[in-house]
Amino acid sequence: MHLWQATVPFCLLASAALPAAAASAWGFTDATVAVQSKGAGVNSGLKEELSASKPLSKPISLATVDTLRVTLTTQEGSSPKRPHQAFLLLKDDQTGLDISYPFTVKESGKSRVELTQKNLPIQFLSLSDPVDARVVIGSLGTSEAYDKSAFKLSIARNPDEAVPTIEPARYGKLPEIHHIFRDDPSSPAVIITLAFVGLVGAALPLLAGLWLFLGTNVNHLSTAFKSSPLPHAVFLASLVSFEGVFFLYYTTWNLFQTLPAAAAVGAVAFVSGSRALGEVQSRRLASLR
C-alpha cells in the first residue's frame, strides 16, 4: 500500500462547519461533456451541455473504448480567470472512493480534461452504480470555491470480460473453518441382522439333525467312561473350560488374566488328552469304531 504523506498545518474540529455564501464565487461557463468512441468521427458520439447550477439528469455512459472529454471556461464571478485548482472529481458515496483529474487550464480559463477507462483506478471499474462526477474549482484568496455535481458517470463494462480486482492484504478476521468429520459407519437395519443371526443360529440344529440322520450316537460314552473315567471327564471339561476362558477374555478379562488360565487349562488338557485318546485308540484297534 502506498501512502502519500502530505505536509501541512492542520486543525481538527470537534464539529462540522457548513459553508455559506461569500462575496465572490468561482464557477464555470461554456461547459460541454462529450463521449467519443475510438475510430468514430470527430463530432460523432454523445455531446451534452453542462450547466453550473444543476447536474445533467441522465447519467453518461463510458464504455471501454470511449474517451470522455469535458471542456469548460472557469470564471471568478463573471469574468474568465485561471484558478489554482480545477479538478474533475469522481466520487462514490457508497464506497467512499474518490479520485481527481486536474483540468489543463489556459490563461483565459479555457480548460479541458480527457478520461478513458484506462485512467480509472480499477476499484472504480467494479462499481455497478453511476459515480458522481463533480467539478471542483478553487483558488487562493477569499473567493468562494465551487464544488458541485455536474453529471453522473456510469462505467459500462463488457459483461463477458472479468472485472479486474485486487485484494490488498489486510489484517482482519478470517472465515471460520469447521473440520468436517468422516461419517460414523452405520450398522444395517437391525431386522436384517436379526434375520441372519437366526439363520446362523439355525445352522446348529441343522447340523444336529444331519448327524442324527446319519446315525450318530454317543453309545461309546459309557464304554469310554468305564475303561478310563477320569481322563475322559477331565479332557472334556478342559476343552469346555478352554472355550470358557476365551469367553471370559471376550467379555471381561484382559490378556494377562487369560494367558495363565489358558496355560493351566492347556497343561491339564494335554495330560488328560493323551490318556483319553489312548483309550480311543484301543477301541479303534479293537475295531469298535
Binding site: 459407519p185 452405520s186 450398522s187 444395517p188 437395519a189 436384517i192 441382522t193 441372519f196 439363520l199 446362523v200 445352522a203 446348529l204 441343522l206 447340523l207 444331519l210 448327524w211 446319519l214 446315525g215 450318530t216 476343552l239 478352554f242 472355550e243 476365551f246 469367553f247 477374555y249 471376550y250 489358558a262 492347556g266 488338557a269 488328552g273 493323551s274 485318546l277 489312548g278 480311543v280 485308540q281 484301543s282 479303534r284 484297534l285 475295531s287 469304531r289
Partner: protein, 166 residues
C-alpha cells in the same frame, strides 16, 4: 478329499467293466452306468457311490464341514448384503468358519484314508498313540494323533478369532 474322488472315479470311470473292479464294492451298491449315461445320471451315480462307499465316521465329518460351509456362506452373504461394518468382526467370524473348515478337511485327509472297512491295524503295541509314529512312513500318523493336532489347531484359531473380533 482325494480319497472321495478316488473312490468315485474308480467306480464310475470304467463304467463298462464289471462292478467287482472296486476294492470296496458292496452288495447294496448301485447299478453300473451305461456308456451313454446323461450328465444327471452320472451325477446321481456319483452321489449314490459317495453315500454307499464312504465310511459313516467320515460322513459325520463331512456333515460338520457342510455346517461350516453353511455358516461361512451365510456370514459372507450378510457382508455382501448389509455392508462390512464392523469389518474386523466380519473377518474374524468368516475366517473362523473358513479356518475350522480347513482344519477339519486336514483331519478328514488324515483319518479317512483307512476307513473301518479297510483298516489294517499294523500296530501291535498297547500304547498305540506313540507306537503309531513308527508307521507314519507308510500309513501316515495315527487318527488319535491327528485328532489331537486338530484340537490344538482349533483352539489357537478360536483364540485368534475372539481376540480379533474385539
Amino acid at each position: 478329499m482325494p480319497s472321495k474322488r478316488h473312490a468315485a472315479s474308480t467306480t464310475s470311470a470304467p463304467a463298462a467293466s464289471t462292478p467287482t473292479s472296486t476294492p470296496k464294492s458292496l452288495s447294496s451298491g448301485p447299478a453300473t452306468l451305461k456308456t451313454n449315461a446323461s450328465a444327471a445320471e452320472i451325477a446321481q451315480h456319483v452321489w449314490q457311490q459317495y453315500l454307499t462307499t464312504t465310511p459313516q465316521r467320515t460322513l459325520l465329518l463331512d456333515a460338520f464341514m457342510f455346517f461350516l460351509v453353511l455358516v461361512g456362506g451365510l456370514q459372507f452373504l450378510y457382508c455382501i448384503l448389509a455392508g462390512n461394518y464392523p469389518f474386523n468382526a466380519f473377518l474374524s467370524g468368516f475366517s473362523a468358519a473358513v479356518g475350522q473348515f480347513v482344519l477339519t478337511a486336514s483331519l478328514r485327509m488324515q483319518t479317512s484314508g483307512s476307513g473301518p472297512g479297510s483298516s489294517k491295524p499294523s500296530s501291535k503295541g498297547k500304547n498305540a498313540r506313540f507306537a503309531g509314529e513308527d508307521e507314519e512312513q507308510t500309513a501316515g500318523i495315527s487318527h488319535e494323533r491327528a485328532f489331537a493336532d486338530y484340537i490344538f489347531g482349533s483352539l489357537i484359531l478360536h483364540f485368534f478369532c475372539i481376540n480379533f473380533i474385539n
